[in-house]
Symmetry: C2
Subunit: 185 residues, 2 copies
DNA sequence: TCTCCTTGGGCACACCGACACGCATCCTGC
DNA sequence: GCAGGATGCGTGTCGGTGTGCCCAAGGAGA
């Protein structure tokens, strides 16, 4: 039942060895497990019998595997995906923020506040020159001006804020397709 | 039953008018609808009775509202969230890509190929100097070197590639919290 | 080679629950 | 007061889910 695999970090891989797919520690999942995950990524509410037919298993076997995938932590949660454009959130903005200092105290202070910003959906602490990169969702450019004023400019220890607007989203995947291709079994 | 609201774009808003929450065209959703969405964002497989108890409705009323939310497109899909660290994907890289030219043909050629990159999860066409920004998931830095070599460097019309590694992810939300706070009713 | 044991799959069954319907009630706006 | 919309209750049917049991394949050991 899909044991271990929790801590088997990728083995050191020589550069020339890997063909095209990544990974390749022997993942404790076979093709049917990946098919289950791929299907659940699309239809989280699919029933056992429905999934069983698509994967090619009996409902019993599928139920066992699905439960194992949940218990082993491969499946974190089942969540509804909302259409944010229905809420008017059609504008994505990438914001680069540099702090006054990189002291531990400054980072903590900044992060404690940025998690409270209701329009921020992602925030990365980055290597390189820019300290943080945020992804902000807004209704339009005017709304982003408001967000900039009421949320971003109130963040502590900020030295510089630089915003770039996304004109279009070309790719938006929750899971990289590489995940569903990697298996030895 | 939650009609319309599909096309009611944000009304022009004077800068001083808005207090703290965004939006504020009269959204066709009341607090209970938002509570349903908030709950389904966490537990997509919750039953009608389970949701009804949390929201404070009967299962009948809840079923009607949930169906309306689906039919009106507020809920796009129900999907399983995978723990990507279980697959070894612990490294997030932001990649900025500038093309040789901004001609329509160059954009189309690039985009047609970037959607095929299995390690790319997001790709934005950006305003400003950088043409595209990608979010790439890798196992580690060595794995990103492979991705850079086998996926990114093969993209057409690329003039410059600049990569920044995310040291830590401070915020990761599927839905901005502002969504669940905006309503008039 | 034979046997034991483990692992995973499939079948059958029973139970509990979800879901959909009809109807009565309540509230609001006109 | 009336009409429309939304809620809540009750009921019946259907389907999903969980369990027990048996079977097949593969590996280990004697």
């Amino acid at each position: 039942m899909q044991i271990s695999a929790s801590l088997d970090l990728p083995a050191p891989v020589s550069v020339a060895e890997v063909p095209i797919h990544a990974g390749n520690e022997t993942l404790a999942l076979d093709r049917k497990d990946l098919a289950i995950l791929a299907e659940l990524t699309t239809n989280a509410r699919a029933s056992h019998t429905e999934l069983a037919n698509k994967v090619g298993l009996s409902s019993t076997a599928l139920a066992r595997r699905q439960k194992a995938l949940e218990d082993d932590g491969y499946i974190q949660a089942y969540q509804a995906a909302l259409d944010l454009t229905q809420f008017g959130l059609t504008t994505t903005v990438l914001v680069r923020i540099a702090l006054e200092s990189q002291s531990d105290e400054a980072l903590k202070a900044f992060e404690a506040e940025v998690v409270k910003c209701p329009s921020v959906v992602r925030c990365f602490l980055m290597s390189g020159t820019d300290d943080y990169i945020l992804i902000v969702l807004a209704r339009d450019i005017q709304d982003f001006e408001r967000i900039h004023r009421t949320e971003l400019s109130r963040l502590p220890r900020v030295a510089r804020v630089q915003s770039s607007f996304a004109l279009r989203e070309v790719v938006n995947r929750a899971v990289p397709t590489v995940v569903f291709g990697e298996t030895k079994r």
